[in-house]
Symmetry: C2
Subunit: 441 residues, 2 copies
């Protein structure tokens, strides 16, 4: 695991120069120093950048990006990364059958499974343009280590899920505190957060404890909220007619540090609350569709009310892949369809949901390609059929192209994918194959 | 253009041997002779196939397919191929604005535009696993030539669209007859059909004429049907309360040789008619979503009633790409979501809609990998993250993977894509770029 010590021991600051790359339709040269974008100039206007050649001894890499476009790295705001090793295990099934299959498998997994599963998830995310992911899963230390090893920017939670059992609650408080203390020695690249799973799995006492815990420490709180109609109905029955949003608001938990996954079945009052509290609401469109949870996500209403809408994929056991491009396209198309309005969720806002809004939710200076921002970005190759049209780049990238047009990916100022290649792919695949065997034991 | 004469002059029958390829989870060796699959045996059980080595003089190609899976080529049942050069030109717009933009551009195009645009469309289709496409566009001879040159199996229509003008109708009858006569000299690989555009663009007289024309000659009839709510309402106003389906049925036009694109806004009575007449109904999910036409496609009702449901992408100006994998996934997910039933449109039926059902609609012995069937198939590489799970191949392929896992494509017994490469890609891109300039004149 990379540590602060290793980080500070590195005397020479690495440099990347991206020459002649298009940024918002204009050709620029970009200088990346350490983890940050330090300079963006019109192509050729800075003689030092223009004349730069790769010089390994100076820890400098130069890429000629002619014909390519720079796009901020995607921020996948809701994942269960290790479940990548469970995809396809329960297809075309009712929710209860699906859950039974998943829970049966989760009884078998270990930290090696989570480590290898998270690494393969990271590989998939890197190849599909994601630089930051907000994860929630068992064995979070293994998942954190995987994200670090892969070079991505992981947001890893300790998961509070007490099932209304006070002994379990006490144990989880201890563990959460321990993991938090450990996280003080994490490198800057990774973010520690806390999850309180959902209103149907977490007691009131633990919601209150968790909220106080994260507020005192300036952490983010990751919750599943109003994913299914059943969740809403059961909550109303248990809490005097309050919806999950109303219930959590009555506990005083909701604020701009809460990341609420799904937020699908919302009343007008729920939307008002989520807006007033500036909650970060994560749309997981493919998962919601596939599990038949619903499709009328209130994007416009939430944004207008003051909430911050982000996009996520959910885990691969429900949505089947971690491809943010696919999630973005389906999100936009669904908004247009159920509202019967082709102007709903236009392209610029769609990109913001997958980049800027996620950065805002996590408090990162990422999600945009600007001087002083984290160097988390992808280089898209436009020399192919998907970009061959008079349409704008963003239309072609988000509606037409696939992730195989992503030529390179930089996270935290380092190339993770270069010319479509990740050097250790075979090894990661082999380890994942081995780890997966535990499921059939 | 390839002609029957060239076809018959070829004395040596080409052979392809696919060794150790998985077919429905079992390893087999496949022998392809000429355009047909002639032999499928368990891997290693036929010594001639097992010991085969590539020998160019014998016009024989052998591919070791270990770790790969054979899947029937997709049949895209509704395209406007040349519109690939117009994608992205009108994004996030209301239908009327979208149509104005498209019509403005269509005034400018010529046969070279259609030829180059159709070739780039074919390239995209090949790379995404499609072997047959049912096209409807202007300059159909140029579009046909493009499909032939690219090696795919094109279904090309003459387009009847008289706008209720009797002079135009007379001209179109003549042209249709001429194109039909020319098609008698087309090679077996391509299919001539006739389109009658839609109830709002074609007169009653021309519907009747076209129907008689295709029936006498055993041709297929391709129609847009009930794509939007406005189409239905306008038809009811114009035809004494009859829906588009009822109206066409009242003319006696609907039968199993009709390919009806969209069939989205249907009454129960419409479904009954389309079922009783065994009409082929093409679901164009992404186009319907993006133009906000609707999403409640009655898949189960149509199939149960006796209709044959197929899948299409529509043209790239509305749906933005020609990727059948994407169309299949969105189709299935939407069925699950709006029906609130995760068991809706299961995987096997989903694949059938994109393969067998299309072949049935077109009367082709394709859509399945079986002895005696046309050798139209793809080879999928499973040595990657998308197939690394205990789930079945079909779940991983249709819900998780992208088209970049398609390693090779064979159409009519010839490799079109081999190891992800199409040899003339650069030239096709360059010609398309040149042809596209006509749009900005």
């Amino acid at each position: 695991m990379q540590s602060r010590k290793n980080g500070s021991a590195r005397k020479i600051m690495t440099k990347i120069i991206l020459k002649n790359v298009k940024l918002k339709e204009k050709p620029v040269d970009i200088l990346i120093e350490g983890a940050l974008i330090s300079r963006i100039v019109p192509t050729g206007s800075d003689p030092v950048l223009s004349s730069a050649r790769t010089d390994v001894s100076a820890a400098q890499e130069v890429m000629d990006c002619t014909g390519k476009v720079a796009v901020p790295g995607f921020i996948n705001m809701h994942t269960h990364a290790a479940m990548t090793l469970m995809r396809g295990v329960s297809e075309d099934q009712k929710l209860e059958d699906w859950l039974n299959t998943i829970w049966g498998l989760e009884d078998k997994i270990d930290s090696n499974f989570v480590h290898c599963g998270s690494k393969i998830a990271c590989l998939e995310m890197m190849k599909t343009g994601t630089t930051t992911y907000n994860d929630q899963y068992w064995y979070p230390l293994a998942s954190h280590q995987a994200g670090l090893e892969m070079g991505l920017r992981p947001v890893v939670s300790y998961v509070i899920l007490d099932r209304f059992d006070s002994n379990e609650a006490a144990r989880q408080k201890d563990q959460c505190q321990m993991m938090y203390e450990g996280s003080l020695r994490w490198p800057e690249r990774s973010v520690f957060a806390v999850s309180a799973h959902a209103v149907y799995t977490v007691s009131e006492e633990m919601f209150l404890w968790t909220s106080e815990f994260v507020r005192k420490r300036g952490l983010k709180l990751h919750i599943h909220l109003s994913e299914s109609r059943a969740e809403v109905e059961n909550c109303k029955a248990a809490h005097g007619g309050l919806t999950p949003t109303e219930y959590l608001d009555s506990l005083g938990i909701l604020d701009e540090n809460v990341i609420a996954a799904h937020t699908l079945h919302l009343t007008d009052h729920d939307v008002e609350i989520l807006g007033n509290r500036h909650v970060n609401c994560v749309h997981n469109v493919n998962s919601n569709l596939k599990l038949a949870s619903g499709y009328r996500f209130k994007y416009r209403e939430l944004m207008d009310a003051g909430a911050n809408v982000c996009i996520g994929t959910d885990g691969c056991a429900s949505s089947n892949n971690l491809d943010m491009l696919e999630a973005m396209k389906t999100s936009a198309l669904l908004q247009k369809a159920w509202r019967e309005d082709p102007t709903a969720m236009p392209l610029n806002e769609l990109l913001d949901c997958a980049t800027k809004n996620g950065a805002k939710a996590l408090g990162l200076n990422a999600g945009s390609i600007k001087e002083g921002y984290l160097a988390d970005l992808m280089i898209v190759d436009t020399d192919n059929t998907y970009f061959l049209s008079p349409g704008p780049f963003l239309a072609n990238f988000l509606y037409s192209a696939h992730s195989d047009t992503i030529h390179s990916l930089i996270c935290n100022g380092k190339f993770l994918i270069k010319n479509h290649k990740y050097p250790e792919e075979e090894e990661i695949l082999a380890n994942a194959r081995e780890a997966m065997k535990i499921l059939s034991k």
